[in-house]
Amino acid sequence: MSDMAVVSSGAGFWRRARRHRSFVFGGILSAVLVGTAALSLVWTPHSPYRIDIPNRLKPMSPTYWLGTDPFGRDVFSLLMTGAQNSIVVGVVAVAIGMLLGTALGLLASARRGWVEELVMRFTDFSFAFPAILTAIMLTAVLGPGTVNSIIAIGIFNIPVFARVARGAANAVWSREFVLAARACGRGRLRITFDHVLPNIVSVIVVQATIRFALAILAEAALSYLGLGTQPPNPSWGRMLNEAQTLIYIAPQLAIFPGIAIALAVLGLNLLGDGLRDLVDPRLIRRR
């Protein structure tokens, strides 16, 4: 008898998860990212804000593990605090996109007809713009800053989640238990919340993990261009920008933030891919 394994059913999920290499590796990297950000709230080797010109551009040493920048700030401390920034931007931007996008997708799927048509054309329209260029345009219009870059990145996540949610929700709507709910006299709204949403949560979570990585990347890009997080708040993207002119003198200033961005994005991507494998999307479509 082929039993449909329920995606989130505890024991089975974790047993499979432990054996999934990229899930484990991605999970560890992501945990390190979050852990570092959390730790930086209470402790950093040096203050990331303290300017100490005499100690500028120090190489790696027991005091300054990754050296110091042109203002004498400790690079390691900057990276730790920068992780906070990346996570906040990622979480909030993805949350905006996820909430609004999923709502739109669910609405499109529940109403079908012209509503679905409208939502889908809206997503097509927004996909027609290169995301990062438009984010640049938006921050240029709204003015640079962390909040505005979050808004710009968040807006670009809306259509992504709308698409994913609508696709998964349409598959759920075609299942017999939804028909059964309709036969009971349930309205579309109730069916959406009682049946459709719980059955697409896993797909949305997977998407959120992957978009999280992209949001971190987007924030780094905006900050690099000077449109994101403003000084003195540390940001990986801006660290890259500031390192640019010193690339031949102090290459470590560009290398370490680069590695931090790469590892964070890699970790979240692996985690997302692993989740995607573990939360087999075929279960959504089954029968």
Partner: protein, 264 residues
């Protein structure tokens, strides 16, 4: 003569398919081409036909899950397609449905207690305690104990899941249950349990079935009347015993031959 439970009159349903050519009208499928029959309380009716005969379309129309192109369906005298939404919702307590696929018809994310209570929540404003009692009662009548309440569908076998689906259909104490191929997805050795259960329900709860099946033997086991559907039209209808003994239409004869035991 009792008042009819379900009256289906001259039901037509056409589906428009996507265009194949830019300049030609889109192709149209006539799933039902004018079908009518009446079910009286206590006389279950079996709708027999093969794939493409329109029987599943008819089941959906009888449950008001779809709208016909023309024609009417009346449940206890009320035209289902002329009711305001609120009235239709209250009418639904009198009719419930059992689906073919016991894997697909139960939400994998909900516990049995919630699944079985769904029709009650949608239809009646009964207090919580009474709803719980009704759920327990419905589960008991399909042979499942209270231990089932807190479990998920995937913890049950196919036959047990079909029992859960049946309990869900019974919980509003309906007069009519539309059963769409209720045993064809089950293991052969489990089918008899479910068929016997459905038969007991007819007696115990005086439920009347509209049973849809491709298998004449299954229909004959539970139904007093038979309607044979082919290509969206009724080719033969009447009392089961009569149709089995003296089939008039060649297609009915073919179906009988196919369902007759070739062994023993």
């Amino acid at each position: 003569m009792t008042a009819p439970l379900l009256e289906v009159e001259n039901l037509v349903r056409t589906f428009t398919l996507p265009r194949e050519h830019l300049f030609r009208p889109p192709p149209v499928v006539n799933a039902l081409r004018g079908v009518g029959f009446t079910i009286t309380p206590g006389r279950s009716l079996g709708l027999v036909g093969e794939s493409g005969s329109g029987k599943s379309t008819l089941a959906r129309l009888a449950m008001a899950l779809d709208r016909p192109t023309s024609g009417t369906v009346r449940l206890m005298g009320h035209d289902l397609f002329a009711q305001p939404a609120a009235k239709l919702r209250t009418l639904r307590r009198h009719m419930q449905m059992i689906f073919q696929d016991p894997y697909g018809s139960l939400d994998p994310r909900q516990k049995v207690a919630r699944i079985v209570a769904e029709p009650l929540e949608a239809l009646t404003g009964a207090p919580k305690a009474e709803r719980e009692a009704r759920v327990r009662e419905a589960l008991a009548s399909v042979g499942l104990g209270d231990t089932a309440l807190d479990r998920y569908p995937h913890e049950f076998s196919g036959g047990q899941r079909q029992r859960i689906a049946t309990a869900r259909a019974l919980v509003t104490r309906p007069d009519l249950i539309v059963a769409d191929e209720p045993v064809s997805a089950l293991d052969v050795s489990v089918r008899a349990q479910v068929l016997n259960l459905l038969r007991d329900l007819q007696e115990k709860f005086s439920v009347t079935f509209l049973m849809i099946s491709h298998d004449l033997a299954v229909v004959d086991y539970l139904c007093d009347d038979i309607v044979v559907l082919k290509d969206g039209l009724i080719v033969e209808s009447g009392a089961s015993a009569e149709i089995l003994r003296r089939p008039q239409h060649p297609y009915t004869r073919e179906l009988i031959a196919a369902a007759t035991k070739r062994y023993s």
